[in-house]
Subunit: 229 residues, 2 copies
């Protein structure tokens, strides 16, 4: 979401910031808003404050976003879009075991949610996010959850579940990945990689995978991720 | 938290509400604030709006709470205090199996978080809640998590874990109970009892309990809860 890229030229900048790591103005706005929304609150933050923190004039901010809601929408979408891309690739890799693919998806999703400088998942629970303005975020998140359901249904324990139990189990496995948001809030010193691995292991346990298969499936899942998924 | 009780007399009331279910003025304030904080946002809600919704004069509100933060603190504490009481009783019942007691704790905690008219757990992630004003909430929540850890360590799979793995596993099992907050937000039509049972089952799976023991432990856990825990 905030991968460094070449600075765009010609945008007015209110002040220079020496330590901006070469972000584009759009990325500067997102980085500033991520910090302000998670530390000071969404309602309490104005576009003016975001522009100041980003080192931009307010007019420049409005060149990239039509307001605060659009900035929030972009931040929220950035927490699910990369995982949906991974999920779609994993669903398509039908030669690999569904259990290993589910492990890989949980690891990748949990790592995204507990990585990065700010706990953006905390913004999911804002009442404002129920509004139509955030329909894309909700749609992408639903599609991501549906990929969890597809992989879960293809596992050996999942194939034995009723439709109703499969839905509940999917809620729980998806909820487990997202619970790193709450874990991270309570214990900000957790090591993201260790937490993501433990979360993916736990997801297979919730799925109903036997303890004796876990180490092998974890290795298979790690290989899938190393291969670019 | 909002159990009906005898109406306190002698408090000034701005207007009568016929459908208040016999709540005390303090409970009316908490019920009104729960709705407003979860639907319109904490920052966007004033004590004046809360008083109006509760059918009280603002002065009456300040008779019970010294401000908006105190109301939020009371709501947050109401989401963890009852579970800590249950947890302490379960930890003390050393004649019952730790697995069944952990099931009972997860069920009770998840049922509290997904029951009630408003998703109060959504307020955990407010940036404001990091402040010292909410130290009691954080302390009670930590004590509750420590009870999860105590029961988890006493289970057969838990007794084999290193201290570090036990800490991670406790994070995940506690996170699973709390993930009903996120599940409830995304799917408000979930049946609380079914979700709480599925969550408690999943917690035992994450603990490492074998599939074949689950049905028996669930029954034992249900009996513990029926017995008053």
């Amino acid at each position: 979401m905030t991968t460094p890229s070449r600075r765009r030229v010609g945008r007015p900048r209110a002040q220079e910031r020496p330590d901006d790591g070469g972000l584009t103005p759009r990325e500067e706005v997102l980085a500033a808003a991520a910090e302000l929304f998670t530390h000071h609150g969404y309602t309490a933050t104005s576009t003016r404050t975001i522009a100041e923190r980003a080192g931009l004039r307010q007019a420049s901010l409005y060149h990239h976003f039509d307001g605060k809601e659009a900035i929030l929408a972009a931040l929220l979408e950035g927490t699910v879009h990369p995982s949906l891309d991974v999920a779609r690739r994993l669903v398509a890799r039908s030669e690999a075991s569904p259990e290993a693919r589910l492990w890989a998806l949980c690891h990748s999703d949990a790592a995204l949610l507990c990585g990065g400088p700010h706990n953006l998942g905390a913004l999911y629970l804002l009442p404002e996010v129920q509004a139509d303005r955030f329909a894309v975020f909700h749609r992408v998140r639903s599609e991501l959850k549906a990929c969890y359901g597809t992989l879960l249904a293809a596992t050996e324990p999942g194939s034995l579940l009723s439709a109703e139990d499969l839905e509940l189990r999917t809620d729980l496995v998806f909820g487990l990945s997202e619970s790193v948001i709450l874990i991270r809030r309570a214990g900000p010193d957790r090591v993201p990689e260790a937490l993501a691995t433990a979360t993916a292991d736990a997801a297979l346990r919730v799925t109903g995978v036997a303890q004796r298969s876990l180490a092998r499936l974890r290795r298979e899942g790690q290989l899938l991720l190393a291969a670019g998924d």
